[in-house]
Amino acid sequence: MLKAGRANKGKNGKKKSYNIPLSYYTHLLWCSSWWGGVQMGPPDPILGVTEAFKKDTNPKKMNLGVGAYRDDQGKPFVLSCVRKAEAIIAAKQLDKEYLPIGGLAEFSKACAQLALGPENEVLKSSRSVTVQTISGTGSLRIGANFLARFHPGPHDVYLPKPSWGNHTPIFRDAGMQLKAYRYYEPSTCGFDFKGALDDISKIPEQSIILLHACAHNPTGVDPRPEQWKEIADIVKKRNLLVFFDMAYQGFASGDIDRDAWAVRHFIENGHNIVLSQSFAKNMGLYGERVGGFTVVCKDAEEAKRVESQLKILIRPIYSNPPVNGARIAATILNTPELRSLWLEEVHGMANRIIKMREQLVAGLKKNGSSHNWQHVIDQIGMFCFTGLKPEQVERLTKEFSVYMTKDGRISMAGVTSGNVGYLADAIHAVTK
């Protein structure tokens, strides 16, 4: 309540504030909120699928949405090499002091070596910088921010059509413009090589082109080595900055060197690339957020300057990265027996997926499907672009409790020998 009779002016003639209790204002403001105009944000198209899946009570439900590997029992798979690394780390009784802004040095070094190969001239001449990032997303974000601040050419990022759904909002929020080059050919469910070359040859010089290093997400369609060579040549002619996104090294073919072939070829071919890496899938470290961002520079001096600027970009976002996952990854990569075990396990994961692809196609044929499902086998990595239309996808979800993204992408990792038959039946039902 306003106190009656209180003078409005204090001794100096300055306006005096009343002794009005807070509750007065609170009452005035009670009905209104700062956030009255905030709209409900739409659920994330990819992660939103899992949330819808969780609510479904159908015992036969299948989550083919998010790209997280599952074993043949449909369970999350913690790699043995990860468990062993965790035990080694636990025994060391390490402290919890802040990491440097750029992250755990042993991790960043091993991360770069994994991508480029330990004998790579770039590493030997120290002309690259690798910082530890918050998995692949964090890496792309730092990369986008770096380019937004320092890239002298057009701030246009060319993505393959289609690309991972989160690429666009990440680059856009960093202030970049998004453009596209042809990539997926719906009529063949394969690579539109001619269309890609055609579009890339017209990209204005010094623009940025984003390439999926292997196991293209969402299509699973990768260029063959000869095709990569031609792409590298055209990209060079156009003087484009290459941004590689490598989230599935090892996961695509089962062989880490084979999966990094394109990245290494481009570097050998003279491109000073930027590269995002994720260890979410190939080490199963999803929730630990392990990734790296690399800039290949002209020389060691430039690399140092770039590193200093990456730190300036990182500090106001999260100060320094989380240690746990990076320690696990570094321990695996730097301990020979664990590294061998890891390579075996990655190979195992890739093989199970290849097997599921084969079984799915066999199942569809057995059901008498008249469609050509060869692309399911030709595509590589975790995802399969089925070619299903949105209405068919909706039916799969509503009638069969098979959850996938609207674009017809399924995560093969969610398929098991126990449910591949059901999936073949369901797909046949909506496509016959």
Partner: protein, 414 residues
């Protein structure tokens, strides 16, 4: 060589972040009696990092729990972490919690929580484009506050008067003056307790005055709570200001860090607590924060959040944690009282009451840049150019050396 457009070659060398450079210089120093009073991390009386006993216990639990895996957390983080962390700062029985109008986002440390809050405010506070909305940070403040808000797109980050260098205390009149004269709807970043770098907090009465002006002038309260429990040893006491604002009816944010009070610095455990008018507003706010998170880090790291959650949700572990926190707070209090006593015994010119009046990890000694330089270069005692010292860097073994060195600096260098 290479097709990289030439101008990555014009990327200039950035200046290193001061506090990390200080630690680097300290590490490179060969002087046997060197002392690091720089970076804000707790140290034991042996000058060593301290992994809290309760944390070691909980980590063992986690490693042996076969049910746990490394799957993605939800975008907003581990649900039990978010709710238990919010309860820590607001109190279990906070009316706002009981009214279902409190939510949270698990973030990467306190920095990450500030970041998500800042990004949200830039997009949604008071209209859709807040690049020109003034953000007020205390003079002085944690050096990263400026960068967090400016990198989130705020073009007008300004100081509000806070530290009175002459009287070595709070400039309340200046603070209230800036609250009265700033543009309406300005955002104020408030230190919940243990102000960094000055260690000087408003009293409860002073907080009440601050709140009154802020409510009347429609200013937004964004609390930064990085030291709850660490300051006084009591979680409740250190959260008093935040809880007062909540009970006064503010819609507000509180960025919480568990780096210091759990000693989990490198696991990046933070929580952005959101107090809204009602559940519906809260829901919409969180949904938009989710979008911001998705394009920044997608979803947060699980290890640290698990450690905190297991601790907070088990009565015995929670008690043990409170004891560990008291251990840290008490050692700091002891160092404060001993440093003051020694300076007084030495007859060091000036008054040194502020050392025990101030609270938390830091003390703003009042040493000027020349005196600081003397300490660093001549005495191998590393502290920030502002005169800020981390009390945790003091031990019973080095406190005499530090006190004598401060005495020298003050008497020899003007």
């Amino acid at each position: 060589q290479g097709s990289t457009p030439r101008a990555i070659s014009i990327v200039p060398q950035a200046a290193p972040v001061a506090v990390f450079k200080l630690t680097q210089d300290f590490n490179n120093d060969q002087f046997p009696n060197k002392v690091n009073l720089g970076v804000g991390a707790y140290r034991t009386d042996e000058g060593q990092p301290w992994v809290l006993p309760v944390v070691k216990k909980v980590e063992k639990i986690i490693v042996h729990d076969d049910r746990l895996n490394h799957e993605y957390l939800p975008i907003l983080g581990l649900p039990e972490f978010r709710s238990s962390a919010s309860k820590i700062v607001l109190g279990d029985n906070s009316p706002a919690i009981l009214e279902n109008r409190v939510g949270a986002v698990q973030c990467l440390g306190g920095t990450g929580a500030l970041k998500i809050g800042a990004e949200f405010l830039r997009r949604f506070y008071n209209g859709s484009n807040n690049t020109k909305t003034p953000i007020y940070v205390s003079a002085p403040t944690w050096e990263n506050h400026n960068a967090v808000f400016s990198s989130a797109g705020f073009e007008d980050v300004r100081p509000y008067r806070y530290w009175d260098a002459e009287k070595r205390g709070l400039d309340l009149a200046g603070f209230l003056g800036d609250l009265e004269s700033c543009p309406e709807h300005s955002v104020f970043v408030l230190h919940a307790c243990a102000h960094n770098p000055t260690g000087t907090d408003p009293t409860q009465e002073q907080w009440k005055q601050i709140a009154e002006v802020m409510m009347r002038r429609k200013l937004f309260a964004f609390f930064d709570s990085a030291y709850q429990g660490f300051a006084s040893g009591s979680l409740e006491k250190d959260a008093w200001a935040v809880r007062y604002f909540v009970s006064s009816g503010f819609e507000m944010f509180c960025a919480q860090s568990f780096s210091k009070n759990f000693g989990l610095y490198n696991e990046r455990v933070g929580n952005l607590t959101v107090v809204a008018r009602d559940a519906d507003n809260l829901k919409r706010v969180l949904s938009q924060m989710e979008k911001v998170v998705r394009i920044t880090w997608s979803n947060p790291p699980s290890q640290g959040a698990r450690i905190v959650t297991i601790t907070l949700t088990s009565p015995e572990l929670f008690s043990e944690w409170q004891e560990n926190v008291k251990t840290m707070a008490n050692r700091v209090l002891l160092m404060r009282s001993q440093l003051k006593a020694k300076l007084q015994a030495l007859g060091t010119p000036g008054t040194w009451d502020h050392i025990t009046d101030q609270i938390g990890m830091f003390s703003f000694t009042g040493l000027n840049p020349k005196q600081v330089e003397y300490l660093v270069k001549e005495k191998h005692i590393y502290l920030m150019a502002s005169g800020r010292i981390n009390m945790c860097g003091l031990t019973t073994k080095n406190i005499d050396y530090v006190a004598e060195s401060i005495h020298e600096a003050v008497t020899k260098v003007q």
